[in-house]
C-alpha cells in the first residue's frame, strides 16, 4: 500500500514537473527562403543551439525565394510569422522604418564591439545608435576563368588577367565566332541581368575615377564622373571588342558552366553551381583592377528580430541571434553554403585566405563596398533599362546615364522624403 502511494506520488510529481518544464519551454520561429545548402546549415545550427539551450525550441520555416519577400511583408505587419527573420540587407531600412524590427540590445550587441569584430560593410545595419540586424555570412565577387579555354588560346592558366586591359586582351584570344560573326564561345560573359550591375556600380565607376552615390547614399553621382566611362567600357565588351554577344546562351553562368565562356564575373554563391561540373576546368581570381584601383561589391543577408516577439520569446530570439553570429556558426556556414564569414577573425584565417576557391573572394572583402540600396530590384531595373537604351536603341552612353540618374534620383528622393 505504502509502495503504491509512493509510486502515485512520484508519478504525480514527475507529471507536475514536466508540466512546469513545458511551461518554461519557449518556442521561437525562424524564417528564411529555400536554398538547399542554407536550409541544411540552419538545421545544423538549430541542433547545436537547442542542445546548449534546453528550454528553447526553434521552428524553422522556409519558402521559395520568389514568394519570400511577399510572405514576410504580409506576415510581420500582421503580427504573425517569425521571431527571427532573414532579410536581404537592402530591405532592412524599409522594415525598420515600418517598426517591424526590434533593435539588438546594446548590452548584448555592443555597437563598438560589432564594429570591431565584423567587416565594416555591416555599418549599413546601424541606425539610431543600435544595430538592427547582423549577418552570418557575406558575399563578394570574383573572376571565374576557364583554364582549358585559356590553354587552348595559348594563354597561361596560372596568370589570369589582373587588370581590365589584360582581361580584354586575354578574352579576345579566347572568343570564337562563326563566319557570320555569331558568337560560338564567349571571351567574357556579359550579363546585365546577373551581377554586372554591381560590377559597374561599385567597381567600374570607382575604377574610372568616380563613385556611384554620395557618401550618405542620398545623391546619385554616377552622372558626374566615372559612370559614363565605366558604362562605355562595359558596353564596348560586346560592341567594340566583340568578346560576346548580348544574351549569349541566355544566362551568363549557363555559358560558363557549359564551357562556352573564358571569363565570368559573379558572386561567391555561384561557387556551388560550378563545383562538381564534369569536364569544367575552372579557377577563381580576384577582380581585375584598373588605374591602380581595386574594388569589390559585398552584399549579405542579415538576421533580425521581429518587433512582434516579446517577453521570453524576445530573450530566446536574442540568444539565437548570438548563436547565428558566433564564430562557429560562420565557419559552419562557409563549409555548408560556400558563403564567406562576416567577421575577419573567421574569414581571414590563413586556411580560408589561402583556399584556392574562397581565397580570392575573401581577399576581395577587404576592399569591398556595399551599395546602400533603397529598392534593390528597382535600382537594378534602372541599370537594365539603361543598358537596353545603349544596346537596343543605340543611345549614346552619356544620354542613357542622364536618364538613369534622373530616374534613380527620383527613387532616392521619394524614399528619403518619407
Amino acid at each position: 500500500m505504502r509502495e503504491m502511494f509512493a509510486t502515485v506520488a512520484a508519478a504525480a510529481l514527475s507529471l507536475s514537473m514536466s508540466v512546469t518544464a513545458k511551461a518554461q519551454t519557449v518556442e521561437i520561429e525562424y524564417w528564411q527562403y529555400f536554398f538547399k545548402e542554407r536550409v541544411t546549415a540552419i538545421d545544423a545550427l538549430i541542433k547545436t543551439f537547442e542542445a546548449a539551450n534546453p528550454g528553447i525550441k526553434v521552428k524553422h520555416t522556409h519558402f521559395p525565394y520568389a514568394q519570400y519577400q511577399t510572405k514576410v511583408a504580409a506576415a510581420v505587419p500582421a503580427g504573425e510569422g517569425p521571431d527571427v527573420v532573414q532579410l536581404y540587407y537592402g530591405w532592412l531600412e524599409e522594415y525598420r522604418k515600418a517598426n517591424l524590427l526590434a533593435p539588438l540590445p546594446k548590452d548584448q550587441f555592443d555597437p563598438a564591439m560589432v564594429e570591431k569584430e565584423f567587416f565594416p560593410i555591416v555599418k549599413a545595419m546601424k541606425a539610431e545608435g543600435s544595430y538592427w540586424g547582423l549577418p552570418t555570412a557575406v558575399r563578394s565577387m570574383a573572376l571565374f576563368y576557364n583554364k582549358a579555354l585559356m590553354k587552348e588560346a595559348g594563354l597561361d592558366p596560372s596568370k589570369p588577367p589582373a587588370t581590365l586591359d589584360e582581361l580584354i586582351a586575354q578574352a579576345g584570344k579566347i572568343v570564337k565566332r562563326d563566319a557570320a560573326g555569331n558568337t560560338l564561345t564567349a571571351g567574357y560573359t556579359m550579363g546585365p541581368v546577373g551581377q554586372d550591375h554591381h560590377w559597374w556600380r561599385e567597381i567600374l565607376v570607382r575604377q574610372f575615377g568616380g563613385q556611384a552615390y554620395s557618401d550618405d547614399g542620398k545623391k546619385v553621382m554616377y552622372d558626374q564622373k566615372g559612370g559614363a566611362a565605366g558604362l562605355q567600357f562595359y558596353a564596348d565588351i560586346a560592341t567594340k571588342h566583340k568578346l560576346t554577344s548580348y544574351g549569349f546562351m541566355d544566362e551568363t553562368q549557363a555559358a560558363f558552366k557549359a564551357g562556352r565562356a573564358g571569363f565570368h564575373i559573379d558572386g561567391s554563391f555561384r561557387i556551388g553551381t560550378f563545383q562538381g561540373v564534369p569536364n569544367l576546368d575552372w579557377a577563381v581570381a580576384e577582380l581585375p583592377s584598373h588605374n591602380g584601383v581595386k574594388s569589390n561589391f559585398a552584399s549579405y543577408w542579415v538576421n533580425g528580430v521581429s518587433s512582434k516577439s516579446t517577453g521570453p520569446k524576445r530573450d530566446a530570439a536574442m540568444k539565437f541571434m548570438k548563436h547565428l553570429t558566433s564564430d562557429a556558426a560562420m565557419q559552419l556556414w562557409l563549409k555548408t553554403t560556400g558563403e564567406l564569414p562576416a567577421k575577419p577573425s573567421v574569414g581571414l584565417s590563413a586556411e580560408n585566405k589561402n583556399d584556392p576557391v574562397y581565397g580570392p573572394f575573401i581577399l576581395g572583402l577587404a576592399y569591398s563596398h556595399t551599395t546602400e540600396f533603397v529598392n534593390e530590384a528597382k535600382q537594378r531595373q534602372i541599370f537594365l533599362d539603361m543598358m537596353d537604351r545603349v544596346s537596343l536603341q543605340k543611345m549614346p552612353v552619356a544620354d542613357a546615364i542622364k536618364i538613369a540618374a534622373k530616374e534613380e534620383q527620383q527613387l532616392l528622393d521619394d524614399h528619403f522624403k518619407k
Partner: protein
C-alpha cells in the same frame, strides 16, 4: 413564421424557395466577387504599401496614373495585344475549322492535335518558346535563319519584335479552343441551307458570305468576347518570356495586368496597383459591352 408561410399562395411559396436556393450562390458571389472588388476600389484611394497602415489620399493615385508615362505605355501595349492578337487568332482558327470541317479522314486526330497546346501549361510552353527565340547556338529559329543564309533576329531582345514574338505562342496556344468552338458552330448550321444554295448554283464564296458567316454570328460573338478578355488579361506568357518577368525590353511588352502585378507584389504599392486594377475593370466592362452591342444588333 409557420402560419405566415401557410397563408402564402403557391406562387409566393415558390418564390420563397427560389430565394432560399439563390441565397447561397448570391452570398458566394458577394463574398468572393463583390466584396474584393469594392475593397479594391477602397484600397485605390489609399497609399497602402503592405508594411504600413493605409492612409486615405483621395484620388491621388488616379492623378499619378494619368501623369505616368509607364501606365500609358502598358495601356497601349495591352490594346496592341488585343488589336493584333484577336483578329489574327479568329481568322486563323476559322480557316482551320472551315477546312477541317470538310475533312473526314482522321478529323478527330487533327482536332486533338490542334487542341493539345491549349491543354499545355502556359509557363512551360512560354519557356520553351523563350528558348526557341534565343540567339545561336541555342535558339532554333535563329539556327534556321542562319542556315538559310539570313542574319540573326533579336526577337525578344528587341523593342519592336518582342511583342509579336510573345503574341505568337499566345495565339498558337489558344487556337485549339477556338477551332473546336468554330467546328461546333459550323456543325449547327442545317445542311438543308447549303443544299438549297447548291441547287440554285451559288458559288462557294457566296455561300460562305451569305450563309455560313451570318449563321455563325453567335459563335463569333462568343469567341470575340472570350478572346478579347483573354488578350486584355495576357500575363503568364509575358511573365515567363521576358527577363525577370518585367515585360521588357524597356517595358515594350508589358501589359497592364503585369504592371499591376509588379506594382503590387514587387514594389508593394498596393494603392497605386489597385487604382490601375480599377481602370482595367472599367476597360474590360466597356469593351465587353461594346462588343455585345455591336454584334447583337440586326
Amino acid at each position: 413564421m409557420r402560419a405566415w408561410y401557410r397563408s402564402r399562395t403557391v406562387g409566393q411559396k415558390q418564390a420563397v424557395w427560389a430565394w432560399i436556393f439563390l441565397a447561397l450562390p448570391l452570398f458566394f458571389f458577394c463574398a468572393i466577387r463583390l466584396f474584393p472588388t469594392s475593397y479594391t476600389a477602397y484600397v485605390s484611394l489609399t497609399d497602402w504599401n503592405l508594411l504600413r497602415p493605409k492612409n486615405y489620399i483621395g484620388f491621388a493615385n488616379y492623378l499619378r496614373l494619368w501623369n505616368d508615362p509607364v501606365f500609358w505605355q502598358v495601356f497601349w501595349n495591352t490594346f496592341k495585344y488585343l488589336a493584333i492578337g484577336m483578329p489574327i487568332s479568329l481568322v486563323l482558327s476559322f480557316m482551320v475549322a472551315y477546312y477541317l470541317d470538310q475533312v473526314r479522314f482522321l478529323q478527330g486526330t487533327i482536332r486533338a492535335l490542334y487542341f493539345i497546346p491549349f491543354l499545355t501549361t502556359a509557363a512551360a510552353m512560354a519557356w520553351v518558346w523563350r528558348w526557341f527565340y534565343q540567339p545561336v547556338p541555342i535558339g532554333i529559329f535563329n539556327l534556321m535563319l542562319v542556315d538559310m543564309g539570313f542574319s540573326q533576329q533579336p526577337f525578344l531582345r528587341s523593342t519592336t519584335q518582342a511583342l509579336g514574338s510573345i503574341l505568337a505562342p499566345a495565339i498558337w496556344a489558344g487556337l485549339g479552343f477556338q477551332v473546336v468552338i468554330f467546328l461546333a458552330g459550323l456543325r449547327a448550321i442545317p445542311e438543308t441551307y447549303y443544299e438549297a444554295a447548291r441547287i440554285d448554283g451559288v458559288g462557294r464564296w457566296t455561300i460562305l458570305k451569305e450563309i455560313t458567316l451570318p449563321l455563325l454570328r453567335p459563335t463569333i460573338l462568343f469567341l470575340v468576347v472570350v478572346s478579347s478578355i483573354g488578350f486584355l488579361r495576357i500575363f503568364d506568357k509575358v511573365y515567363n518570356m521576358t527577363v525577370d518577368g518585367k515585360g521588357g525590353p524597356l517595358n515594350t511588352t508589358r501589359p497592364l495586368v503585369l504592371n499591376i502585378y509588379q506594382l503590387a507584389f514587387t514594389d508593394y504599392r498596393m494603392g497605386y496597383a489597385a487604382a490601375q486594377t480599377m481602370v482595367l475593370f472599367v476597360v474590360l466592362l466597356a469593351v465587353t459591352a461594346i462588343q455585345l452591342r455591336a454584334l447583337r444588333s440586326k
